[in-house]
C-alpha cells in the first residue's frame, strides 16, 4: 500500500492522571471535547496527518495512562517516540510539580534526542488556577523546553502545540539528515525524497519503531 504522507512522527503524551492528555489528543484528532472523564487504560493512540510546510506529516500520537499503576508499562513506549508532550494541569499544583519527575522519567527511558514540550492544560479554568503561566514558563526555561498553555475544552493552543512540536522534530531530523548525507543534496523539503524513494515509508517506520 502506498504511503499517504511524507513523513511519520511518533509523539507521546505524558503527565499526571487527569491533566487532560486524552482530551488534548481528542481535541487534536477529532476536534471535539468530552467533559466526561475516562481514565486511559495503559496506552492508546490516534493518527492525524497535518500539513507542515508543504509536507504531509503523519502524526502517530500515543496517549499514555497517567495513573501511577501503569507507570512501568507506559515507560516502555518512551523509546520509540520522537516527540514527547509533558502535560500538567494549571488547576493542580501537584501535577505541575510532577513535571520534573516526568522529565527525569524521559531522560531515563526515552531517546536522548527526543523533542519535548510542556503543556499547561485547562487554562480556561482561570478561577481555579493554581499554577501561574509565569511559573510554567520559568520551568520551561529552566529545562530549555518549549511551553504553552492550552485548553482542550476551548480548543486553545492545542493545534499550535502539536504543530510546534512536529515542526521541531522535523527541523531536528532534517538537520541530522543533512549532517549524515553528503552536502549538495536538495533542501529540507526534498530531503525525504532524496533518500531511497520506494522504501522511504518503511525506513521511517523502522526508525519510529526502534523499541
Amino acid at each position: 500500500m502506498a504511503k499517504t504522507y511524507d513523513c511519520l512522527f511518533k509523539l507521546l503524551l505524558i503527565g499526571d492522571s487527569g491533566v487532560g492528555k486524552t482530551s488534548i489528543l481528542f481535541r487534536f484528532s477529532e476536534d471535539a471535547f468530552n467533559i466526561s472523564f475516562i481514565s486511559t487504560i495503559g496506552i492508546d493512540f490516534k493518527i492525524r496527518t497535518i500539513d507542515l510546510d508543504g509536507k504531509k506529516v503523519k502524526l502517530q500520537i500515543w496517549d499514555t495512562a497517567g495513573q501511577e499503576r501503569f507507570r512501568t508499562i507506559t515507560t516502555a513506549y518512551y523509546r520509540g517516540s520522537m516527540g514527547i508532550m509533558l502535560v500538567y494541569d494549571v488547576t493542580n499544583e501537584k501535577s505541575f510539580e510532577n513535571i520534573k519527575n516526568w522529565i527525569r522519567n524521559i531522560e531515563e527511558n526515552a531517546s536522548a534526542d527526543v523533542e519535548k514540550m510542556i503543556l499547561g492544560n485547562k487554562c480556561d479554568l482561570d478561577d481555579k488556577r493554581q499554577v501561574s503561566k509565569e511559573k510554567g514558563e520559568q520551568l520551561a526555561i529552566e529545562y530549555q523546553i518549549k511551553f504553552v498553555e492550552t485548553s482542550a475544552k476551548d480548543s486553545l493552543n492545542v493545534e499550535y502545540a502539536f504543530y510546534t512540536l512536529a515542526r521541531d522534530i522535523k527541523a531536528k531530523m532534517e538537520k541530522k539528515q543533512e549532517a549524515s548525507n553528503p552536502p549538495g543534496v536538495r533542501g529540507g523539503t526534498h530531503l525525504l525524497k532524496a533518500t531511497d524513494q520506494p522504501r522511504k515509508p518503511t525506513s521511517w517506520l523502522s526508525r519510529c519503531s526502534i523499541l
Partner: protein, 817 residues
C-alpha cells in the same frame, strides 16, 4: 490512494482495534495483579488478535506457506534475518518436539472451536502443560520472551517480502502501530502462577467497542472434573463455518463465553428497558464484568477472560448449588443469547436435551447437599438440646416458658392432678410435715457448722492476736505489752462482732480506762500479715498468759452455769415453733460465739460437758485477754470498740485478718448490735448479752458433742471464706439482698457446703441459691430446693465432668461439616 476509501482499511482498522483492546485488557490485568497469568484468557485473546493481524494479507502461496501454521512457518522463515525470530523459532521447535501429539487438546478449552486456519497450534502444546496452550504458540512464546514487538517490527520493515500490498502489516500506518502497540505487552510480567482469580477486577475499558450485530452462537454445558462449565461460542468459530477462512477470529474468540459454575457465588440480573445485564460474583467477592444482553438484538459485551478453562481447583463453597441452578436457568433461558439465526439451529436443539439432563443433575446434587446439611443440623440440635434439657416440649407457646397456665394444662393432660392437692402427690399435711422436718434438719446442720465456724473464727482471731502481740513485742516496748494483749483481745471481739466499720470513735474516747489510747500507736504500726503469722508462735507470751489464765476461766465457768438452761429452752422452741426459727438461729450464733470467746479454736475440742477442758485449751488466748480483764472482768466483750479502732486506724494486719469475716453484714449481727450499744456501759451489758453468749455455747456443743478434726475445720474454713466473698458479691443491686437476707444466703450456702464438704463451695452456687431465696424467703426451703437442683447441676461445676462435655458439644456445633 486515500486510505480512507480503501475497502480493506475498515478491516485493518478492526484488526488493530482488536489488538489494542486486548493490549489494554492485558495491561489492566497486569497492573491489577502485578503480573499476567500466562495461560489466562487475556494472553490467548491478544495472541489471537495478533495472529489475525499477521495472517491478514500474508503471501502464503508465494512464500510456500500453506494452510496450517502459516505464521509459524513465517517465523521460521524470517529467523535467518531476524535474531529475535531465530530465538523464538528455536523455542517453538523445542516445545513442539516434546509432546507432539496434542492436536485435539484445543477442543477442551474451547470445545466448539474449529482450528483457526492460521494456527500453528495443531502440532503441539506448550511444553508440558496439560492444558492446550498450543494455540498461537510462537506468539505466546515471543510475548513471554519479550521479543514479539521486535519480530513484528522486522516483519513490518520487510513487509514487501512477505505481505500483499494491502496487508495490515504492510500498511504504513497500521504496521508500525501494530509493532508499537505490542511494546507494552512485551514489557509486562508474565507468570505461570495462577493468581487466586484470573478475572480482572475492573470493568473493561470504556473505549472498548461492542459488536453491535446479533451474534449467533453455540451454547454448551460441560461436565469437567471440577464441575460444570457453561460455554458459549460464536458460530464463526464453529467447525464448518462457511466464512471461516480469512476472517479475523480474534474478535469472536473475545466474544466466546465460559463460566465455571463452581466459581460463581452470586448471580445478579439487572433488567432495564434497553438491555439486561448479568453480573456474576465470584467466590472472591469480585464482580465479573457485566454481560449485557440487548433486549432484541442479542448484542452482548465480550467477556474474554471471564473464566479459564477447566483447570482443577478446589472450591469450598458448596452451598451455592441453588445459586448455580439459578444461574444455569438464567443462562439457558436468556433469550437474547440463544441464537436465532437458522445457522445456529442445530446447536440449539442439541443443547436443549443436554441442558435438561444437566439441570436435573444439578438439582439433584443440590438437593443431596441440602439433605446432608440438614442431617448435620439435626445432629447439632441434638447436642445443643443436651446442654439444656433432654426433654423437648414441642407445645405451642413453649417459648413463653413454663407459665402457671402451662403447668396446669400439662398436669391436667397427664392426669396427674385430680384436684389441687394432688399436684404434689402428697397431702398438705404431709408437706407441712416435710417442711418441718426440713427445717429441723436444716437447723441441726446449721448448728453443726456454726460450731465449726466459731472455731474457724477463733483461729483467725488467734492468728491475728498472736501476730499483733508479736508485733508489740518486737517493737520492744515492754510497757505496752499489757496493752497489746488487751488489743488482741479487742481485736478478737471485733472479729466476732464483725463490724469494724460500725465502730464509733466515741466509745473509744469515752473509755480511756481501757488503754485503747495506748494501743493505738502500736496498731498504727501494724505489721504485715506475714509478720503476724511469724509471730504467732511466740513462746514468751504464753508464759505471761499462764499466770493470768485462772481468773478468766472462772468467769467463763460462771457464765456457763448461769445460762445453760435458757439455751436449751431456746432450741426446743425453735423446733416446735417455726416462727421462732430466725431467733433460734441467732441464738445458735450466739452460742457459737460463746465458744469462740472461750478460745475453743486452739484445742479443736468443743465438748459442752467438759467446759473446763475448753477453758484449759483457751487458756493461752483468754490469758491475753485476762490481763485487761484483771481490771474489768467483763471487759473482753466490751472491748469491741477499741478493736474497731484498730481496724479503722487502718492497720493492714488487722484489716487483712478480719476481712474474710464479712464485716458489713456479719452473721452475728445480733451480737454486734449488742456489743455496740454496750460501748458506753460495759458493766451493764455484760451480764445481759455477753454472758448469754457464753452460756449458750454450751448447748450447741453439747447437742453435737463432736470433736472436729483439723482437716475438717480447715476445709470448712476455706469454704467459709469463699462463701463469704461470693455472698457479698451476690446481687447487691437487688433490694431483697439486705444484710439480713445476705446472711440467710450465707447460711444456706454454709449448710449446703457443710453437708457436701467433699464438693465444697464453688463460685456460682450462690447465684443459684439467690433466686430460690428470693422466691421462698425461707432458708430451709431454699436450701432444700437448692440441694435438689444440685443433684443435677453438680456436674456443671468444675469438679464434675459435664463442663468438658458441654465444651466438646459447643466445639462441635459451630463448625460442622
Amino acid at each position: 490512494m486515500p486510505a480512507a476509501t480503501d475497502p480493506s482499511a475498515e478491516q485493518k482498522e478492526r484488526l488493530i482495534a482488536a489488538v489494542k483492546k486486548e493490549v489494554k485488557q492485558l495491561m489492566e490485568e497486569a497492573v491489577t495483579r502485578k503480573f499476567v497469568y500466562e495461560e489466562g484468557g487475556g494472553v490467548t485473546a491478544l495472541c489471537g488478535a495478533v495472529e489475525a493481524c499477521l495472517g491478514q494479507g500474508l503471501r502464503r502461496r508465494a512464500l510456500g506457506l500453506f494452510k496450517t501454521s502459516s505464521t509459524t512457518a513465517l517465523l521460521h522463515k524470517i529467523a535467518k534475518n531476524c535474531p529475535e525470530a531465530a530465538l523464538i523459532s528455536a523455542r517453538v521447535l523445542a516445545a513442539e518436539g516434546a509432546p507432539a501429539t496434542r492436536s485435539a487438546s484445543g477442543v477442551e478449552r474451547r470445545p466448539s472451536a474449529p482450528r483457526p486456519p492460521l494456527n500453528k497450534r495443531g502440532s503441539g502444546s506448550l511444553l508440558s502443560q496439560p492444558a492446550p496452550q498450543a494455540k498461537y504458540l510462537w506468539i505466546r512464546l515471543a510475548l513471554f520472551e519479550r521479543q514479539l514487538a521486535k519480530i513484528i517490527e522486522h516483519l513490518v520493515n520487510n513487509a514487501t517480502k512477505y505481505y500483499e500490498r494491502d496487508a495490515l502489516v504492510a500498511d504504513p500506518d497500521y504496521g508500525s502501530i501494530l509493532s508499537s502497540l505490542l511494546v507494552g505487552p512485551c514489557a509486562l510480567e508474565y507468570s505461570k502462577a495462577k493468581a487466586p482469580t484470573c478475572f480482572w477486577t475492573d470493568p473493561p475499558a470504556d473505549e472498548l467497542k461492542d459488536v453491535e450485530e446479533p451474534m449467533p452462537g453455540y451454547l454448551s454445558l460441560h461436565q469437567t472434573a471440577s464441575g460444570l462449565v457453561i460455554k458459549w461460542t460464536p458460530n464463526q468459530l464453529m467447525n464448518g463455518y462457511a466464512e471461516s477462512e480469512g476472517v479475523d477470529k480474534s474478535v469472536y474468540w473475545a466474544m466466546s463465553l465460559q463460566v465455571c459454575v463452581w466459581e460463581v457465588v452470586y448471580v445478579h440480573v439487572h433488567r432495564s428497558q434497553a438491555s439486561d445485564a448479568l453480573i456474576l460474583v465470584g467466590q472472591d467477592g469480585v464482580q465479573r464484568p457485566p454481560q449485557v444482553f440487548g433486549r432484541n438484538k442479542g448484542r452482548r459485551r465480550p467477556m474474554p477472560s471471564l473464566c479459564e478453562s477447566g483447570e482443577t481447583e478446589e472450591h469450598e463453597f458448596e452451598d451455592v448449588a441453588a445459586m448455580r441452578h439459578t444461574l444455569l436457568e438464567r443462562v439457558v433461558q436468556s433469550p437474547p443469547r440463544t441464537p436465532r439465526r437458522t445457522l445456529a439451529s442445530t446447536s440449539t436443539t442439541s443443547s436443549d436435551s443436554s441442558t435438561i439432563t444437566m439441570r436435573r443433575q444439578i438439582i439433584s446434587r443440590a438437593f443431596y447437599g441440602w439433605l446432608a446439611y440438614c442431617r448435620h443440623l439435626s445432629t447439632v440440635r441434638t447436642h445443643l438440646s443436651g446442654l439444656v434439657n433432654p426433654n423437648i416440649i414441642p407445645e405451642d407457646g413453649a417459648e413463653e416458658g413454663l407459665t402457671e397456665d402451662m403447668w396446669r394444662s400439662l398436669m391436667d393432660e397427664s392426669g396427674v392432678i385430680k384436684n389441687k392437692n394432688e399436684l404434689f402427690e402428697s397431702t398438705a399435711e404431709e408437706r407441712q410435715e416435710q417442711d418441718v422436718s426440713y427445717r429441723r434438719q436444716y437447723e441441726t446442720t446449721m448448728s453443726e457448722w456454726l460450731c465449726v465456724e466459731a472455731i474457724v473464727r477463733q483461729r483467725d482471731r488467734e492468728a491475728t492476736a498472736a501476730s499483733i502481740a508479736r508485733l508489740s513485742e518486737s517493737s520492744g516496748k515492754a510497757k505496752i505489752e499489757t496493752n497489746d494483749t488487751s488489743d488482741v483481745f479487742e481485736d478478737d471481739c471485733s472479729v466476732i462482732s464483725d463490724n469494724p466499720p460500725v465502730v464509733s470513735p466515741e466509745p473509744s474516747d469515752n473509755e480511756p480506762t481501757q488503754k485503747k489510747i495506748d494501743v493505738k500507736p502500736i496498731l498504727s504500726r501494724a505489721p504485715s500479715i506475714e509478720e503476724i503469722d511469724n509471730m504467732e508462735m511466740d513462746e514468751d507470751k504464753v508464759k505471761d498468759v499462764k499466770q493470768n489464765g485462772e481468773t478468766d476461766i472462772c468467769d467463763l465457768d460462771l457464765n456457763y452455769d448461769d445460762d445453760d438452761g435458757d439455751d436449751e429452752v431456746c432450741i426446743k422452741s425453735v423446733v416446735e415453733n417455726p416462727d421462732l426459727r430466725r431467733e433460734s438461729i441467732a441464738e445458735i450464733k450466739r452460742l457459737a460465739e460463746g465458744i469462740v470467746q472461750k478460745g475453743e479454736g486452739r484445742a479443736l475440742l468443743c465438748s459442752v460437758d467438759s467446759a473446763n477442758v475448753n477453758i484449759n485449751g483457751n487458756s493461752t488466748r483468754s490469758d491475753e485477754g485476762q490481763q485487761t480483764s484483771n481490771q474489768h472482768n467483763t471487759h473482753s466483750v466490751i472491748v469491741t470498740n477499741p478493736s474497731v479502732d484498730l481496724a479503722v486506724s487502718g492497720s493492714p494486719a488487722s484489716g487483712g485478718t478480719t476481712a474474710p469475716a464479712s464485716p458489713a453484714r456479719s452473721p452475728l449481727g445480733v451480737v454486734r448490735e449488742e456489743s455496740h450499744s454496750a460501748g458506753a456501759s460495759i458493766d451493764t451489758l455484760d451480764p445481759e448479752s455477753r454472758p448469754d453468749n457464753r452460756s449458750n455455747c454450751v448447748s450447741p456443743t453439747s447437742s453435737n458433742g463432736g470433736v472436729y478434726s483439723n482437716e475438717l475445720v480447715e476445709s470448712f474454713a476455706l469454704n467459709l471464706h469463699r462463701i463469704e466473698k461470693d455472698v457479698q458479691r451476690c446481687d447487691r443491686n437487688y433490694p431483697f439482698f439486705t444484710d439480713e437476707n445476705l446472711d440467710k444466703l450465707r447460711n444456706i450456702m454454709c449448710t449446703y457446703v457443710w453437708e457436701h464438704l467433699e464438693t465444697g463451695y464453688m463460685q456460682g452456687m450462690c447465684d443459684l441459691v439467690a433466686p430460690l431465696l428470693v422466691i421462698t424467703k425461707d432458708e430451709a426451703v431454699a436450701h432444700a430446693l437448692f440441694t435438689q437442683i444440685m443433684h443435677r447441676a453438680k456436674d456443671n461445676f468444675p469438679s464434675g465432668q459435664a463442663m468438658d462435655a458441654h465444651f466438646a458439644d459447643m466445639r462441635y456445633s459451630p463448625h460442622g461439616n
